[in-house]
Symmetry: D2
Subunit: 290 residues, 4 copies
Amino acid sequence: MLELTQTLNASDRVHHEIEEVLATGRTAWQQYLFFKSRAHGVCVALDGDLQSCAADEGLYHEALVHPAMLSHPAPERVLIMGGGEGATLREVLRHPTVTEVVMVDLDEEFVGLCKSLIPDWAEGAWNDPRLELRHEDIAAYLDHASGGFDVVVGDLIDASDAASPAAGLYGPEFYARLATALAPGAVVATQAGPLDPTGLAGHRRVRASLNGVFSRVLSYGVYVPSFTGLWGYTIAGTADLLPGGVAERHALFELRTQERGIGLVHTGPEALAAAFALPRALTRVLEAGA
Amino acid sequence: MLELTQTLNASDRVHHEIEEVLATGRTAWQQYLFFKSRAHGVCVALDGDLQSCAADEGLYHEALVHPAMLSHPAPERVLIMGGGEGATLREVLRHPTVTEVVMVDLDEEFVGLCKSLIPDWAEGAWNDPRLELRHEDIAAYLDHASGGFDVVVGDLIDASDAASPAAGLYGPEFYARLATALAPGAVVATQAGPLDPTGLAGHRRVRASLNGVFSRVLSYGVYVPSFTGLWGYTIAGTADLLPGGVAERHALFELRTQERGIGLVHTGPEALAAAFALPRALTRVLEAGA
Amino acid sequence: MLELTQTLNASDRVHHEIEEVLATGRTAWQQYLFFKSRAHGVCVALDGDLQSCAADEGLYHEALVHPAMLSHPAPERVLIMGGGEGATLREVLRHPTVTEVVMVDLDEEFVGLCKSLIPDWAEGAWNDPRLELRHEDIAAYLDHASGGFDVVVGDLIDASDAASPAAGLYGPEFYARLATALAPGAVVATQAGPLDPTGLAGHRRVRASLNGVFSRVLSYGVYVPSFTGLWGYTIAGTADLLPGGVAERHALFELRTQERGIGLVHTGPEALAAAFALPRALTRVLEAGA
Amino acid sequence: MLELTQTLNASDRVHHEIEEVLATGRTAWQQYLFFKSRAHGVCVALDGDLQSCAADEGLYHEALVHPAMLSHPAPERVLIMGGGEGATLREVLRHPTVTEVVMVDLDEEFVGLCKSLIPDWAEGAWNDPRLELRHEDIAAYLDHASGGFDVVVGDLIDASDAASPAAGLYGPEFYARLATALAPGAVVATQAGPLDPTGLAGHRRVRASLNGVFSRVLSYGVYVPSFTGLWGYTIAGTADLLPGGVAERHALFELRTQERGIGLVHTGPEALAAAFALPRALTRVLEAGA
């Protein structure tokens, strides 16, 4: 039996049984593994870390994309950082206000593998005329980006560990550079690692980086079964980003999904609004780091 | 290295490293294990299944107790089924409206172990004059119970498996019997197993049982880190139980915690209200079974 | 972290960490996995079962081949059943008496993968003019084999489980058919599953099958680190096969390796002779089945 | 499910399922765990390391004791270092030449637990009038030992890791001190850690220590199923200790077991003689360290 084993925290380890390896190898940038899981369907791992599984990628990607997109009154130009599977792109393009999406994913070979091995995840998004797909380092891209993005969605590999090669993509300098590419009123969303109370260092680092650049930073979390954990995200923007509590968020998300005709298949406006209502056991630790 | 291994679903298994075994043995009813975990503090397992850990039992027990207690305008008489650790009792007694709590836990020896090994979990509740502690079979107790309970809280061992010896405590006959012990307008809460989309059979069985007896049944879930999963609960009652959406629930929980002077240390009124806003990926499956 | 997990017996499971997957996929007959292990070098698994690792395949294959070859005074015609990695062939060809080797391995694609991915294991054997390599079912081959083999070496996948698809290749009918392809005085060797005292059913089945056909059947075992166990083999032949005890075996193996100029790099004549001196804890159970 | 997990080497980890914990706790010196295993019966672990299991402790202890005892022409005074389970003592006392056994095990509480929890392992040896049982540090004991031991058997906890607290008990100074307590022609045996080719450092350290003190040092190994490995031992003594090869050893062990009327239930004279015939893959590495 083949298993993908993930360390969750100082005590716990989860073993995912692999039903069948579909493809594995190494691109110029990372080691990839596409496999089938009885519980979670086709899954993708990079450098030994689980990225997404068919059974709940909809949950993960809706939660990543829509709070930011719905917080913005009319997102036209969107930047996706990473997101090789094509599912972040799929969700962004659901918003009819969008006129242009620049997706920057360094690893052309990996994106190619996703196009051929999990084509249905993108639901045709790869061929959308609004897409400009670029394969270059996101930091390098920002040096020459035309800018003016209304929404930025960060779907980069996790960097809970400060020593990770991706850690720079969650640091204060990177976000300061990103800020120069934003339109007024822009919203920036990023996945931000697990919200495990015993391992919040990664998420707190992202928050600290964003707090140096944006007036308002909010954390939220959604339980993603294949990650066996509460997955954390942040959105950041101007001082009036998502004001109020769960009632106001719910009302806003409900209104804008209706206006834009977007069905949230896996989450829903109420669940997305609720995702920001983290338990105090978590917010105490998160805010201690602010 | 000693590990407690738990099967999560058809593919996944979590290994909890045990830092130190504090006590283990067999009572007349079950095998117990108290141990220390680096990530989760002192933990309790029964018959090989993790029950609670110090680091997040507050989250688990607040979520179990308060939605039901706050949904009732003035809960006076409360019945706790199981709950040997004393933490469910602790949370119930926080409500100043309570005049009498009957706690029925079959296993006197296990309750004694909790009193001596994890006394701080109860925060003095064992000595509260409002408590009547009984060690007998809950089904047998119901045959001679004086009745008139305003709130019932079920903190019995999990029975996701229909073949479990505890399965009867989640079945329709049991709830029908329980109904005879209720005051008008009573609310019944119970832990109801993990909300894992690939293993919802257990939770759906509880819902189905409750649906046969109560006019309104609601599911909610809270991510409990030591369980590496979204833990499911249900509350059931009359047709007007917790009407409306997340905004109304939030307002109600906020109001009543203030009225009763209850601080929800681990969850909070907004987080508890949000816990009912399950993602559609789950509600679709749950309601398909209704 | 990717792991190959193997069940050892009713209680134990070993996890082999995979450093890198080199190749994986499915031939017409089986699923293959070539991977790198920090402890064992390049390893090969078929249908989830570890077959051989670079670090100790020399130990495994010397132990499989040489006791039979050295027990025969002058093995000329040799049949290898299975043995896709080419290492069994390599060891057989070391004996200068050999004039012809027929190797029958059903899975042409797997043999091709071994030729390209682990070519050094064969040490040139694939090009030896004495080799006739056939890809067909071994049972079908025996129906039309020219016969007259002096030594037969079975390096087929393990069939500890009577329900395995390979179980027929270890059964009495198969060995009866094999007997018709043998020269007088022939010796038949086969790998015969782990010599785990709590799981000897597989090895005993092989012995029982051989006992129905051959006058003398001997078991022996060598500890193979990557298998985390004592691996079992049998040799079978006429009544005068390997007479005496460890002293006589040692003398014979020493004499014939010297005569034939064969260096046993991983085992040695004394270690091979000793491999037949199984502890009584094992022989008691093995002979109970005779 | 409770599991005892042991790291075997740089890649492999074995999980032993625990059927039932019989006793666990901490003495003044170490953490103990007595448990039942489906495959191996009652097992004992100290500080998280498996020590012995009922199903194969006979194999382990016969292999530890008898090569040394049979190598000596008439062992009268015997020193056992460690050996709390009482099984080493049991094997030593089988030799009718023995007139006095001093057993020094630091941990009186652990020995008491063995006496009460696994009394049958000792087969009455605890009450043998030849036994002097002492609970003190073995190094301290040697400072005042009367000396003149014919055989010493080291059954101390493993110290494969040079940083282990027990490492001193396998070092050159300890053996030099031990040498002063020996009678002429004495034989010293000790368990010496796993003979895993990728982790021979521990065994080689023991050999190096002994080589500095004794004229002849021999390694041997026996596969112990519950250890999932080939377990290593050494015997050391004067230049004429166990001369010759497997034939001579076999003859000697056969002769002396008959003379002394000792039945080797789990191993046998031939298997013990064979245990010294290690494969060249191991001896190359072991001797490279001489």
